[in-house]
Symmetry: C2
Subunit: 210 residues, 2 copies
DNA sequence: TGTAATCTTTACCAATTGATCAAATTTTTC
DNA sequence: GAAAAATTTGATCAATTGGTAAAGATTACA
């Protein structure tokens, strides 16, 4: 008896494994540029080099692909923030956080844009996750307030401090086209991330030292 | 003889004026959330409270509306940067720039998101403008390098400095949903922009003073 | 007030879209 | 090597999409 869709099988076949990966890879390419509504199954199928019905054999709907991608993304996206520990040196902790976020922007720009697309749309599918995000940020904010009270970090609004780290690092994924256009052929090479890291480190280190 | 489309008439009628404004207003709402491909004429027409053919009487195509909106946006978007003058006090000039960009994020969030959508898509329609942008940024970078040489501004990469201002201010338009979710009902009111301004001013002032 | 120009509506069209189905093909398993 | 399971394909569908044609309604203006 042929299963109607591959997704339900207990054990993933070799083919299933490979095709699903190819689809997700292609979908990430397409979704991250055009957003959910702006992307078509045909487009994704073509990018994955297979027919549309074939693709739909592995994922029931367009939304199923998108949901899976978003889910995977959210799972790892906040890891760097989770790693910020109260018992570390405040400025080093913040610098590490910036560095890690910048590495993510460099190594996973499509994931970053997928997330930004979702937020731009009003985050319709990740309301729960936003709630989790709030509690994580609140928790880390408390740590920072402690550092400030101890005179180990400049007094400021920790929420907005976190926003500014998100913004400055994510910028290099979302606005990549603009960044490259502005830097010009000479400075838009791979080294731009090192330049960014150097600049951001200085800005935040000087800006936040007590 | 009835003109096929209203746009070509020399003088704009009262009705033309009003309807075109209503369409652009509605289109800005829709495009800024869903992007170009994710938005439909029906959607825009409904938001503008008119029938689709009626809307298409004023704008030939969906793209015509989008082009006009993008054009208008780019026209005013860079004004704050243009206003940065070499003969001002470096830190005050930068602070004013931040304040103005933040006001734009507060007062014109839809325009900001429209722009971000366009950039996320790879900026297909604004290649020329990106070239103009580069020369403007290069020009202002030279001014900043002068300030640094004179010891009136901390030494850093001026391009990345400008990026960080764009990123931190634009963040409050693009990631508004996330910002509000994280701040929570207590602090997500209109005052969040004042908090942001206070924080950013401190960060950049301390981070960039020589 | 009459008429020409402008505006609006109804009906429509061809292309694209997300998705289905049964038949044909390939792969795995015994 | 045959049966069973998994995979692929081509044909198809209903809904949506961007856009048009033409007739009817309204407005501006002499």
């Amino acid at each position: 008896m042929a299963k109607p869709r591959a997704a339900e099988t207990r054990k993933r076949t070799r083919i299933q494994q490979e095709k699903e990966d190819r689809i997700l890879e292609a979908a990430l390419d397409v979704f991250s540029v055009h957003g959910f509504r702006g992307s078509t199954i045909d487009q994704i199928a073509k990018a994955a080099d297979m027919s549309k019905p074939n693709l739909l054999y592995y994922f029931r709907t367009k939304e199923a692909i998108h949901r899976l991608l978003i889910g995977r993304l959210l799972d790892t996206w906040l890891d760097p923030l989770r790693e910020m520990k109260a018992d570390g040196d405040p400025l080093s902790e913040i610098c590490s956080y910036i560095r890690r976020k910048l590495e993510m922007a460099r190594d996973y720009p499509r994931e970053g844009r997928l997330f930004t697309n979702e937020i731009l749309r009003g985050a319709p599918h990740i309301q729960d996750e936003l709630r989790d995000l709030k509690s994580l940020v609140d928790e880390k904010s408390k740590i920072m307030l402690g550092w400030m009270k101890d005179g180990r970090l400049a007094r400021c609004d920790p929420h907005h401090l976190i926003f500014s780290i998100w913004a400055t690092t994510q910028h290099y994924a979302d606005f990549d086209v603009q960044v490259r256009a502005v830097l010009g052929p000479g400075k838009a090479g791979a080294g731009r991330f090192d330049d960014a890291a150097r600049y951001l480190e200085k800005l935040f280190l000087e800006g936040l030292k007590p």
